[in-house]
Symmetry: C2
Subunit: 374 residues, 2 copies
């Protein structure tokens, strides 16, 4: 059998305040097209379907509609779990009815022990859970995430059919993975990390949680990554999905093309506002500019926004060095000349020229004069 592995849709997520619903709908429909082209027997969604536990009504409407399209209309089985961003209870609305059309939306620990069998594969769907849920389920207050996962996988093992392949679908941070800026940092790292070694009993582990497909490459564990770039740190990521055939379990990557990409560009303001230059670009993309300019550009962001409506930022290459500590500056009891020279150097990376120093002295003289006369 063949299946498609995706995850971290984060329906309703915004990028620097911009609504991504249209982008998400377009890219998920691309996933559906790929599923049909690749003749998969199931679409696996490894959690974080929504971006928030209480999604907006527009987000709800869109996800409901997408499931109707792919499962109710196209009749492609869907195997999905809730992630840490989803409310398990809210997301599970509609279960168990979804089961009637092979749409398996698992949100509870106890559902993970009964595999869904499609062809020669047993799928174990382990939704994201907090250790406290495992403690309640197993009546064992000593459980940590690691010992809970061990116990869960041990229990799953009892139903392993030696004649079949086993696939785990889950949503956690695997220790040693690389994160991007669009995962919430409190949810990655030490306490909630699972060692990859716990997962080796599976033939394939379809992971969700981290947004880069390259976050981990250990054995047969893969993050699908998000279908869209959700932060500037992902600008060079190639987003896509995995197609897995149970015959070799060798995941094949299929790229997705966003409606609007997240891009960064180094250029001068003059270039960016030159039609000959910007007509070469997709101005609708989410642009972050690194400006080479040093002079003051009045009303800069508004001028850029008029050309690049979805601009997410513009900063000078020679911007404030991040280690400048304002407090230290305050402590220095410098002359106005020294303070302005330091300020100029922080902003531009250059010292004042002889001419600039002359202007500065004249300006300060005039200001002091005015002050005295005032």
């Amino acid at each position: 059998m063949r299946f498609l592995h995706t995850g971290d849709w984060h329906i309703g997520k915004k990028l620097h305040g911009y609504d991504l619903l249209a982008d998400q709908k377009a890219v998920i429909r691309q996933i559906f097209v790929l599923a049909k082209q690749e003749k998969v027997d199931a679409i696996v969604i490894a959690g974080d379907l929504y971006d928030r536990s209480v999604p907006s009504v527009e987000a709800c409407e869109m996800l409901n509609q997408l499931f109707i399209e792919i499962n109710w209309q196209e009749k492609i089985p869907v195997l999905a779990i809730s992630g840490n961003h989803d409310s398990a209870v809210r997301l599970s609305t509609g279960m168990p009815w979804y089961e009637l059309t092979d749409f398996h939306l698992y949100t509870k620990l106890e559902q993970s022990f009964d595999p869904i069998e499609i062809g020669d594969v047993q799928f174990y769907l382990l939704a994201y859970f907090e250790p406290v849920a495992a403690r309640a389920y197993f009546h064992d207050d000593s459980l940590t995430l690691t010992t809970a996962i061990k116990k869960i996988i041990g229990q799953m093992g009892k139903s392993f059919d030696p004649g079949k392949k086993q696939v785990l679908v889950t949503h956690f941070f695997i220790a040693g993975s690389f994160k991007t800026d669009s995962e919430t940092s409190v949810e990655v790292g030490g306490l909630n990390a699972i060692s990859y070694d716990l997962l080796h009993t599976f033939d394939y582990v379809a992971l969700g949680h981290l947004h880069s497909k390259n976050a981990i490459k250990k054995g047969n564990a893969r993050y699908s990554g998000s279908p869209l770039k959700f932060s500037l740190s992902e600008k060079d990521d190639q987003k896509g999905i995995w197609i897995i055939d149970s015959s070799d379990l060798n995941p094949q990557f299929k790229a997705l093309t966003p409606l609007r990409d997240v891009k960064e560009l180094v250029a001068s303001f003059r270039q960016l506002t030159d039609p000959d230059f910007y007509q070469q670009l997709n101005c609708e993309d989410f642009w972050q500019f690194q400006l080479t300019d040093r002079t003051i550009i009045p009303n800069m962001m508004n001028q850029l926004r008029a050309i690049y409506p979805n601009i997410i930022g513009a900063q000078r290459i020679s911007r404030y060095r991040e280690n400048v500590q304002l407090e230290k500056l305050k402590e220095r009891k410098n002359s106005p000349q020294q303070m302005l020279q330091t300020f100029f150097a922080e902003i531009t990376g250059d010292d004042l020229t002889k001419r600039q120093k002359y202007w500065l002295d004249q300006a300060l003289l005039q200001a002091t004069d005015t002050e005295k006369r005032g």
Copy 2:
């Protein structure tokens, strides 16, 4: 065929800050028991399943679970619509899958034109809608609620089967109905009222919106009323559901018993705190007391709450007359004696006795002395 008519469940509603989830679950399960006893072919729920467009996660979990019990497990068909308190989009999550087990949850105007046929009855499910939705649907900006309803009912008429009975399920305010305090007042009244005359083409109109079963008794139109009392103004209401048999379409009322009732009692504080008295009462009920006392009772509410944990209020019978206008009181430049006499009269309904006047004079004298010396 036989059906049960209920509505206005308002799952998640609170009564004077008290959570009603347990009460709602208990009373809705009573409805399910009645449905089985009465061997109905369908349960009709005429809108306002939730109290809020974004219900709490506990409310979601409960309603999901109740539908699983009655439709998925007991296999009783359910015909439900969204009311003005529901978010049509959020509530519709799980459709169209619900249809597979005869759980028809209609939330959109366009769904109202295809009747659901059970036995010899055609059910038309018209969810609550704002005139703006009808204007968009019919591409007619001139539509008011009344003209929209006329148009909708006209269109429904085209599929009327003369060999069957027609039942309309809807959620509106019918002009001339009586309201209670638990409906939101902005949603009842003139603009959103529908004339009963529009509905005469139906053999039975299963209404939701108003919380008293007696809100209207015109022809075959009935409000089921809420299954629980949601305000003190409903204290004398008998809550319940209607059982309708298509042979005579004569609704039979079946009463429901709440876990905790809403009650009012006139008594003295001494009685209310006397075990011989309160052991005759269900102290767990939501009690509103009219106290006959006139003297000051320190810490009164806390003392009452210790006995009546779900008390919703206690007030003196001889309480502030509502037409007392504080501003007027302020305008009168009375002596302290006069002001206190007026205040005493407002509170107790009595004038000061000779002795009380003496006490007052002494107290004021002392206060004035202290002031002067201070």
